[in-house]
């Protein structure tokens, strides 16, 4: 629960310091910094485990050897990783791959260009056809319009002629007197009788 704050100076002062001076640091556990030390642990001085000097010498030798070997292994692996990366980027396989990719790219570009040319031809033909169609339609439309105009003019002429014809029978200031006299002289009878069978009888009672 408690971790000793290390250091040689700290060890010396620990012997001289009073018992309850906190030179230990709470790492984990359920007590907070303000809780007092437990009654059973009041006089406790933590002592590290005893060290056998002969064993320590042997251990130091073994550790030196171990670290040497592990460091060498680490360098070896680093070199291997770098070599793999180098080969990946600039090896023979990589060159072949790059070459193949370039070839594919060329082929695809050529194919694309050919397709573009073909489509261009098709497109020009289509556009030409469409233009011709449009021209023809325009010509037809103009012809139609001309025809319509002509017919219109004819109609109007007919109307004019009819009107001219009718104008002869109009009543003007000169004809007024004569027409009145004529009308009074010739009374017209519009009455008639009709049968269910469609027989028309115009002879009626004159007033």
């Amino acid at each position: 629960m408690f971790q000793v704050i290390g250091g040689r100076s700290v060890q010396v002062t620990r012997l001289l310091a009073p018992r309850r001076a906190v030179l230990v640091e709470a790492v984990r556990g359920r007590k907070s910094r303000t809780d007092p030390v437990a009654k059973s642990k009041e006089g406790r001085i933590k002592v590290p485990p005893p060290v056998d000097p002969r064993e320590m010498v042997v251990l130091k030798e073994r550790f030196a050897e171990y670290q040497l070997i592990t460091r060498a292994l680490r360098l070896e692996f680093k070199e291997e990783v770098l070599r793999k990366k180098y080969e990946e980027e600039t090896g023979s396989l990589a060159e072949e791959r790059a070459r193949q990719e370039a070839e594919e790219h060329c082929a695809l570009m050529a194919f694309n260009n050919q397709e573009n040319l073909r489509m261009l031809e098709v497109r020009t033909l289509r556009v030409q056809k469409e233009k011709e169609e449009a021209e023809r339609k325009q010509v037809e439309a103009s012809v139609q319009r001309e025809q319509q105009q002509q017919e219109f003019i004819k109609e109007k002429e007919k109307d004019i002629l009819k009107l001219q014809e009718d104008a002869k029978n109009f009543i003007t200031l000169e004809n007024l007197d004569r027409r009145i006299e004529d009308a009074l002289d010739n009374p017209k009878n519009y009455n008639f009788a009709i049968d269910k069978e469609g027989r028309v009888v115009k002879q009626t009672m004159l007033q």
Partner: protein, 134 residues
């Protein structure tokens, strides 16, 4: 969105990669199982790791063996990239033969042997005393 966690870990104390044991399957009590994992140093023990490099089952099976697995190829890659294995992982690798044997394995074995010899000699002495008494 920028992946903030990796930036933080790289700029935080210059975080480094470790190869360590992470507890897996903690939903079951009293049945530990460890994954050998390459992770950033400051990550939680069971938190997000970079890659799993093996497993370790601390409880012996029916044939009294503890099973360990390693992905040596990827371990080589990570150590080449500058990962540090922890003490238990180093011990396991030493026993596997990938690394040299860890010194503490040897010293622990020696200590245990010394203890057993001590107990054996004590037993012999005790038996000798009993025979003498009789």
């Amino acid at each position: 969105m920028v992946h903030l966690s990796s930036l933080l870990l790289k700029n935080y104390h210059g975080g480094y990669v470790v190869i360590r044991l992470a507890l897996a399957g903690h939903k079951q009590a009293n049945r530990p199982f460890y994954r050998i994992v390459a992770a950033y140093n400051k990550r939680a023990r069971d938190g997000k790791y970079l890659e799993q490099l093996g497993s370790y089952d601390p409880l012996p099976n029916i044939y009294n063996e503890k099973l360990v697995s390693f992905n040596f190829d990827r371990i080589k890659y990570w150590i080449g990239c500058g990962a540090h294995p922890t003490k238990p992982v180093a011990k396991l690798l030493g026993l596997a033969g990938f690394f040299p044997l860890h010194p503490m394995t040897i010293t622990e074995a020696e200590r245990r042997r010394a203890q057993t010899e001590l107990i054996a000699t004590e037993d012999v002495l005790q038996e000798g005393q009993k025979e003498a008494e009789v």
